[in-house]
């Protein structure tokens, strides 16, 4: 029987270091491994003994592309533990900061990391020669997101202005208004992005996933909501660990998450979209439908269209917030530590990011759990490849490899984020 192996030693255009191994025997896939060898970073261990107020800044360092998500999940979890209520104006500013991160992260992934897969280029650099206007648009969109994070977060990468209870300093109305013109351009550019990516050739591939995302009574989710799925999950964030479990697998420095009852699940833009289409703005909904997406999309390759739709939503939402905002009188509300455990879950660009902290009466961290979106998608990514390879078994090896790599990038995996949880296990052979 003919055996083939697809081996990609270093996955390009993903964040962090990972490799892909697919073993094929005849018409069947015998093994799929997304090998994560990005070293573990032990953030949960070295947060123990630290003060509550340090957690947003320390956890923001986990990721250079989604630091806001870490700050937000940390703040919400800590505020939950201490019973802190945040005023509407500060909540709106947090949403604005999150818009900046989505725009920045989605623009990077759409234009620099994923579009080359569909247009047949090895990298964005090669693509730039033939598609200069598109790449320029992508870079400027990313810059618009960076500008929001800069104004609200204090700097573009690893923002420092967010804190438990609010912000250290609130930008002036003028500083925020300074973002408006560029955001108007960005809204048009994002709409153009939706139209552009909709023209890409998409493989005919669908699976019956369980999608998991936050759902809020009247907003497209960033910071708050219940955790829901299309198979009946509907729980408070604090019940996350009753329904989800992490397991160690030998080939990965990242843990794999699963629903205890049903196994693999799917988080990220596609999950948010499928569970919250009715919460998108009318413009974003229209753009999605005009791009050929249904209200429900099960083709992970079309996630790039959903990212573009979410970018459009984030630009509009940022504009709305800036226009309607009343600058809070005080940048933060006071926080009194107390003994207890707090839970937070927010929608990082790549999907739900769960934090749980336990504190003593001085607000010193006794115990932490952080579960990033990528480790929640790893099982689903491997399952996609188990289905994708047999369906395309007649493809030439290099084309099949290309397709497999693109399938991994559908999830915009952030391998650096996913490697914080290893129980060290060395295997000597």
């Amino acid at each position: 029987m003919k055996s083939r192996t697809i081996k990609v030693d270093y996955l390009a255009r993903v964040e962090g270091e990972g490799a892909l191994l697919v073993k094929i025997k005849g018409q069947q896939v015998s093994e799929v491994k997304l090998q994560i060898f990005e070293p573990p970073r032990f953030f949960e261990a070295f947060l123990r003994g630290r003060k509550y107020s340090e957690a947003p800044d320390i956890t923001a360092r986990i990721c250079g592309i989604c630091p806001v998500a870490y700050q937000m999940s940390a703040c919400h979890a800590i505020e939950d533990a201490f019973g802190v209520a945040i005023p509407a104006s500060i909540r709106a500013l947090r949403r604005l900061l999150y818009c900046g991160e989505w725009i920045e992260s989605h623009a990077l992934h759409i234009y620099m990391l994923h579009a080359p897969d569909f247009l047949g280029y090895e990298s964005a650099i090669h693509m730039a020669k033939d598609h200069p206007a598109d790449v320029q648009r992508g870079l400027r969109l990313k810059k618009t997101g960076n500008a929001i994070v800069n104004v609200l977060g204090g700097r573009e990468i690893h923002p420092i202005n967010g804190r438990v209870g609010g912000f250290y300093k609130i930008p002036s109305k003028q500083e925020l208004s300074g973002l408006v013109e560029e955001l108007k351009w960005a809204s048009d550019a994002a709409a153009e992005t939706v139209r552009w990516v909709a023209t890409f050739p998409f493989p005919d591939f669908e699976r019956d996933y369980e999608f998991v995302a936050l759902r809020h009574p009247d907003e497209y989710p960033f910071n708050e909501g219940r955790l829901v799925s299309n198979r009946g999950l509907d729980i408070a964030v604090r019940d996350y660990e009753q329904h989800f479990a992490e397991e160690h697998v030998a080939h990965s420095n990242a843990l794999h998450s699963a629903l205890k009852e049903r196994g693999a699940y799917f988080v990220g833009p596609l999950a948010r979209y499928n569970l919250n289409f009715d919460r998108l703005s009318p413009t974003a909904q229209e753009a999605a439908l005009a791009a050929g997406l249904g209200k429900l999309c099960r083709n992970p390759f079309q996630g790039i269209i959903v990212r573009a739709v979410e970018t459009l939503y984030a630009c509009e939402e940022a504009l709305r917030i800036i226009t309607e905002l009343e600058i809070p009188e005080k940048p933060f509300v006071n926080v009194e530590p107390r003994v207890g455990t707090g839970y937070g879950c927010t929608e990082a660009p790549r999907g739900i990011l769960y934090h749980r902290y336990r504190f003593d009466d001085k607000g010193i961290i006794a115990d932490v759990r952080i579960i990033p979106p990528t480790s929640q998608n790893l099982k689903t990514i491997e399952a996609d490849l188990m289905h994708l390879v047999p369906a395309n078994i007649e493809m030439q090896k290099d084309r099949l490899q290309w397709r497999c790599e693109a399938a991994v990038r559908n999830y915009d995996p952030c391998i650096s984020c996913a490697t914080h949880f290893l129980k060290l296990q060395y295997k000597y052979e």
Binding site: V14, E15, G16, E17, G64, I65, L108, M112, S123, A124, I125, A128, K129, P132, V135, Q136, L139, K142, K143, N146, E156, I157, S416
Partner: protein, 156 residues
């Protein structure tokens, strides 16, 4: 940076918390007090998209970054643009974004290169966490700062 006309920029790129990756920033810091005020000295994280935004088409730019080609630590690489093609794999790239080599290639493709550019690479030894430079890299930092000072003085 709203002034019009050609400018002279010196950009030190890198991350001072990753050992010898801070070499470019160290050169920029040395030069900041030593160059005439007409020269704009910038310390930059090296993140691609925003690095490209720091220059304009009619600028004259010198960039200093850490390099990792396998040469002895402290080796000084020098490339000039538009004259020379950049060899692969000398300058590191961050997985979250893209490094100086990618920035230059994209800038060329998008016609976003400055009028001329000199790129210095200082070969590093240790890129582990922590704020320190290897002794050989310290020496190279001083040497590159000297060379840039002389080069800029010779320019009309």
């Amino acid at each position: 940076m709203t002034s019009k006309g050609s400018r002279t920029l010196v950009i030190g790129a890198g991350n001072e918390w990753r050992g010898d990756d801070g070499a470019g920033l160290a050169v920029a810091r040395r030069l900041r007090t030593e160059l005439p005020s007409s020269v704009c000295v910038i310390e930059h994280s090296g993140e691609g998209a925003s690095l490209m935004d720091s220059w304009r088409g009619d600028d004259s730019v010198t960039v200093v970054d850490a390099a990792k080609s396998g040469a002895p630590p402290g080796t000084i690489h020098r490339f000039t643009f538009p004259a020379e093609p950049l060899p692969d794999g000398i300058f590191g790239c961050s997985s979250h974004s893209f490094g100086i080599a990618e920035v230059i290639q994209i800038a060329v493709a998008l016609h976003r290169m400055p009028r001329d550019m000199v790129l210095y690479g200082i070969e590093g030894l240790d890129f582990a966490d922590g704020a320190h430079l290897s002794p050989a890299v310290e020496l190279a930092v001083a040497e590159v700062a000297d060379r840039i000072r002389r080069e800029l003085q010779l320019k009309p």
